[in-house]
């Protein structure tokens, strides 16, 4: 189950999507998410899906990976679907099915369907951002985008550093958790039976060693960073400078056209 966590994972490549400037990618992803909520009907959703499919195609990321990214949030998606399905009132008062306070209307089915679609697209779009952008580039991009806030003494550099270290350690800590689970199982720990509270209690022998080791790692990493002359945001340079290039401008133009069309279609309820 831990292997399913793909959030923040990066799959190196050399496609046009990979080469885009991280700032451009971040901004476009945000615009994309906004557009998702402005899209209104089957036609505009079809356009969004087609667009996303093309982006995935160009990036060369396998569809299996994209789908796997959805698995950890499946529960939330299902939950939203059920709520929307049962609680959307019908405009005409006609219901497809009714039992006590539960009822399913035609509108409910539609709303639930589009909500699920919307959430899935949202997650796929954001995971495409992290799949194709190295975390360093991502945090670099964020740091640059937010750098005007430095004037207000917001700790932008520190935040982006923390984020990139957190991302760096996700796979390491997952590996560690799996080792601890195996070690506790070998000692006879039971994680799979009992009620919810018993299962939650069974997590304690996993979390305690995990936290202790994470603190120790943090301590060692801090020492190592100091040894490598890290002094915060004092006089730092970057190996990779960010430049807006022709690919970025092309991407922006294509994006503007597609998203403009989607919003226009959405306004007419298509």
């Amino acid at each position: 189950m831990l292997k399913d966590i793909t959030i923040g994972q990066f799959f190196p490549g050399d496609s046009a999507v990979h080469r885009l400037d991280p700032r451009v990618k971040i901004v476009l992803t945000i615009v994309f998410i906004i557009a998702l909520f402005l899209a209104g009907g089957p036609v505009s959703y079809a356009a969004v899906i087609a667009f996303l499919a093309v982006v995935i195609g160009i990036s060369g990321i396998s569809l299996r990976l994209v789908v796997r990214g959805l698995r950890p949030v499946l529960f939330i998606i299902a939950f939203t679907a059920v709520l929307n399905l049962f609680y959307t009132p019908s405009a005409t008062g006609e219901y497809l099915w009714q039992w006590g306070f539960l009822h399913i209307s035609w509108e409910g089915v539609k709303v639930a369907f589009f909500m699920v679609l919307r959430l899935m697209l949202l997650i796929i779009a954001t995971s495409m951002l992290t799949y194709t952008t190295s975390p360093i580039q991502l945090t670099d991009g964020l740091e640059r985008l937010l750098s005007p806030l430095k004037k207000l003494h917001a700790p932008v550099h520190e935040l982006s550093m923390m984020m990139s270290i957190a991302l760096r350690f996700i796979p390491t800590l997952i590996e560690e958790t799996e080792k601890i689970i195996s070690a506790q199982k070998a000692r006879g720990a039971d994680f799979d039976s009992g009620n919810l509270i018993q299962r939650a209690k069974a997590m304690i022998p996993i979390l305690v060693p995990l936290f202790i080791s994470a603190f120790r790692r943090a301590d060692e990493l801090a020492t190592a960073m100091e040894c490598r002359l890290y002094r915060g945001d004092v006089g730092r340079t970057r190996m990779k400078q960010l430049h807006i290039e022709r690919v970025d401008i092309c991407a922006c133009v294509i994006f503007a056209v597609v998203i403009g069309a989607v919003i226009a279609l959405g306004r007419y309820g298509l």
Partner: protein, 282 residues
């Protein structure tokens, strides 16, 4: 001055925990290390060898005595930055010293902190990665590499900084034999090819043998200091400090003791040992 590191009566005690006395770990170490030397520091667990390494890099400040790095007193905080630029360090656990999610970005980390111009960083990162044989892996994520490869990346990060001295604190302790060989080859290269002073903290005898000079630590003091040949032939003194001797010497020493032979025991390599045994049997 030809000394890069010099300690005078260096003492260090870890701060006391509540209700306990502080434990002195270093009890007056006098040591001087010349430029370009390859020194192995040997010692049993708790002998103070890692603490000593920390003093060379101003991670630990002496609680008594002085440690000079390139004539700079490590206690003076205004020197700390220059001290760490002169002496850089590689740690035991490769996972806990790699900062970035891509190999080349990690190698660039120290240079970015130093404020080196981007084009220069690029050049030095590529050179350093080639030097440790990890250039093909430059776009990889560190967690996909083997332990030996991660440790070589960490060493590349150090090479890129171009320090005058590198301290390696048990760099092979968590590696398999293959990884150990890879790392040791790179460590020798550091010293021979780049003329960097290397201080290798270890408890593997076969690694210490590769150094020019061996310092044996015992209970917070320097017990022995000399060439590998001088040190490892003193089998009984080493045993008293709970250290083993290289197997080649062990064999010859046992033959001498049990059969009353008088073989020379200074065989540091398997080849030398085989030669002596051949003569003995013939």
């Amino acid at each position: 001055m030809s000394e890069i590191i010099k300690t005078e009566n260096l003492q260090y005690a870890y701060p006391a925990e509540e209700g306990q006395l502080s434990v002195p770990v270093l009890k007056g170490v006098d040591l001087s290390i010349k430029r370009g030397e390859f020194v192995a520091v040997l010692g049993h667990n708790g002998s103070g060898k890692s603490t000593l390494a920390g003093c060379f890099n101003a991670i630990r400040l002496p609680t008594g005595g002085v440690c000079y790095v390139d004539m700079m007193d490590t206690r003076d905080e205004s020197n700390t930055y220059e001290v760490r630029k002169t002496v850089s360090m590689v740690f035991q656990n490769p996972d806990n010293q790699l900062v970035a999610t891509v190999v080349e970005e990690d190698v660039a980390f120290a240079l970015e902190n130093m404020g080196v111009p981007p084009a220069e960083i690029r050049k030095r990162v590529d050179e350093a990665l080639r030097a440790v044989g990890m250039y093909e892996y430059r776009k990889q994520a560190p967690h996909r590499l083997s332990g030996g490869q991660k440790q070589r990346v960490a060493i590349a990060g150090v090479i890129a900084m171009m320090p005058r001295c590198v301290v390696l604190d048990e760099p092979t302790a968590m590696l398999d034999p293959q990884g150990r060989r890879e790392v040791m080859a790179v460590v020798r290269e550091l010293n021979r090819q780049y003329g960097i002073t290397v201080i290798l903290i270890t408890h593997h005898m076969d690694e210490a043998v590769q150094a020019q000079r061996v310092v044996v630590m015992h209970q917070g003091n320097v017990l022995m200091d000399g060439t590998p040949r001088e040190i490892f032939t003193q089998v009984d003194t080493l045993r008293a400090a709970s250290l083993t001797v290289p197997q080649t010497i062990e064999v010859l020493h046992s033959l001498n003791r049990q059969d009353g032979e008088a073989l020379p025991i200074d065989a540091l390599s398997i080849g030398e040992c085989a030669d002596i045994l051949e003569q003995y049997l013939a």
